[in-house]
């Protein structure tokens, strides 16, 4: 469907959702988003006959580094109803990712994300939205804006000692995270990888309380174990949650932590050499059944999870016992 909007139409619609002084006098209208740098603040992108007013570029929030502006990801307002959307324009990139000493090939795929959006349209543990092509066949994703903070920030902001956190907060967080692992199992059962499993790629929906996966346009060239990297990501988040943050070897050394002398190479993350995984050595009240799950992601492990079902089974054992 092709629909044209006059400047008056757009001004009238925008006036419902913006304060009077912020309604632009004139709108630049895009139906071709190939050059996403040209799509700027106060422009309108028309997709499938729907006008979206562009607001800010999105930023990648990561570990206290300067936020990286993602010029292909825009905040937008659906001018028909005022709903806030995230608009992801088409940006292809191939690159070699690196974790520890391991290099592997990654790429960004709009097709993948659009396909998964379709698959998870009724799943409470994923962001929702849809893919739509602009007039040059660029596959754009229009996402519902999830109000809420990333899981990483939620846990990182807690002003509690670890023991109080572990006995007071952790169980509830784990219950929600368990659902997230089940959600990844759902993807895998449908032949899809998440591709970029990170603690800041789970948002806690302020309205529903559900934990929701975001950003699944990344893919990686798998080798023998198609879902291995996703599982590694899940393990890293679990260790982060149990530890109420990363427990880093340099920090323990600096603090002259009493357990430092008991730690060996085998207690560290399988790939990330400065992260402690055997958290029971740091927090002795962590139950054995939970710590055993963590150890599958350590250098000392003699067996790595091959699928989410195995991880869920082990986590389930701990939850049932708790």
């Amino acid at each position: 469907m092709t629909e044209s909007f006059s400047q008056d139409d757009l001004r009238e619609m925008a006036s419902h959702w913006l304060p009077h002084h912020k309604v632009p006098g004139r709108f630049r209208i895009h139906k071709d988003t190939t050059d996403f740098f040209r799509v700027e603040y106060d422009d309108v992108v028309v997709l499938g006959g729907k006008p979206y007013l562009i607001r800010h570029n999105a930023k990648e929030l990561r570990f206290g580094l300067d936020d990286e502006v993602k010029f292909w990801v825009k905040r937008a307002i659906d001018l028909r109803n005022g709903r806030l959307k995230i608009m992801k324009l088409v940006f292809y990139e191939h690159f070699l990712a690196r974790i520890g000493d391991i290099e592997f090939e990654c790429f960004r795929s709009p097709k993948k994300e659009a396909r998964i959006l379709d698959l998870v349209s009724r799943h409470k543990n994923f962001m929702h939205g849809y893919g739509i092509q602009d007039e040059k066949d660029n596959l754009i994703r229009i996402l519902d804006f999830v109000k809420g903070m990333p899981l990483s920030m939620y846990v990182g902001n807690m002003e509690l000692g670890h023991e109080a956190y572990f006995y007071g907060q952790f169980q509830d967080i784990l219950d929600h995270f368990f659902e997230c692992v089940q959600a990844i199992r759902f993807l895998h059962e449908n032949g899809e990888k998440h591709g970029d499993i990170r603690r800041d790629h789970i948002l806690i929906d302020r309205e529903s309380g559900h934990y929701r996966w975001i950003d699944f346009d990344f893919n990686y060239r798998h080798r023998e174990n198609i879902y291995g990297y996703d599982l590694f990501g899940l393990g890293n988040i679990l260790v982060f949650l149990v530890g109420m943050g990363d427990v880093l070897l340099p920090d323990l050394k600096r603090e002259c932590h009493p357990s430092i002398s008991t730690l060996s190479e085998e207690d560290l993350n399988l790939v990330l050499n400065n992260r402690v995984v055997n958290l029971k050595k740091i927090y002795p009240y962590i139950p054995e059944s939970l710590n055993r799950v963590l150890l599958h992601f350590s250098k000392g492990a003699n067996w790595f999870y091959e699928n989410t079902a195995q991880l869920l089974e082990d986590l389930g054992e701990f939850r049932n016992a708790a």
Partner: protein, 156 residues
């Protein structure tokens, strides 16, 4: 318990890629069996159907596939010549490069074996670090674990 004797044929399937380990596996078979009558070798490279997501357009996918197939053909011919130089009769060395959807390369190789008559599979062992093997899996380890009714040689 009866000791039923299974007859073993002399058909060898060498599963290869472009790695040095695969070349070593081919050379090893040449050294061990070259010049001995009766062995037939197939050099197999399964081309995984490239993921749809990897290519922005289907034209790019077709272009990649065509270039890749030429590379694979050249690679397989190179391996075939190694065996012929080692004493195999040219008629006893064949090559195969089917394209398959491969979530697991090991399973694809084993599926090829199931459809054909090979009692021995030969693979090279990639020099993966432990972490790498944990994270991304190892084709040779999986073949060793999952192969049934055949012998597996893993060449270091």
């Amino acid at each position: 318990m009866t000791g039923e004797k299974k007859s073993t044929n002399k058909n060898i399937l060498i599963a290869v890629d472009e790695s040095e380990n695969a070349r070593r596996a081919v050379s090893y078979v040449g050294q061990v069996l070259g010049g001995i009558e009766g062995f037939k070798v197939t050099i197999l490279h399964v081309i995984p159907v490239p993921e749809e997501d990897y290519f922005p357009t289907s034209a790019e996918k077709e272009k990649w596939l065509s270039q890749h197939r030429s590379k694979v053909d050249a690679m397989l011919e190179g391996y075939r010549q190694i065996l012929i130089r080692a004493g195999f009769h040219p008629g006893d060395v064949s090559v195969r490069s089917p394209m398959r959807y491969c979530p697991s390369m090991a399973e694809c190789i084993l599926a090829e074996r199931d459809e054909t008559e090979y009692d021995t599979i030969v693979v090279g062992r990639h020099g993966l670090s432990r972490s790498e093997e944990f994270l991304f899996g190892s084709v040779s380890s999986k073949i060793v674990t999952h192969a049934r009714n055949c012998t597996v040689w893993v060449v270091e």
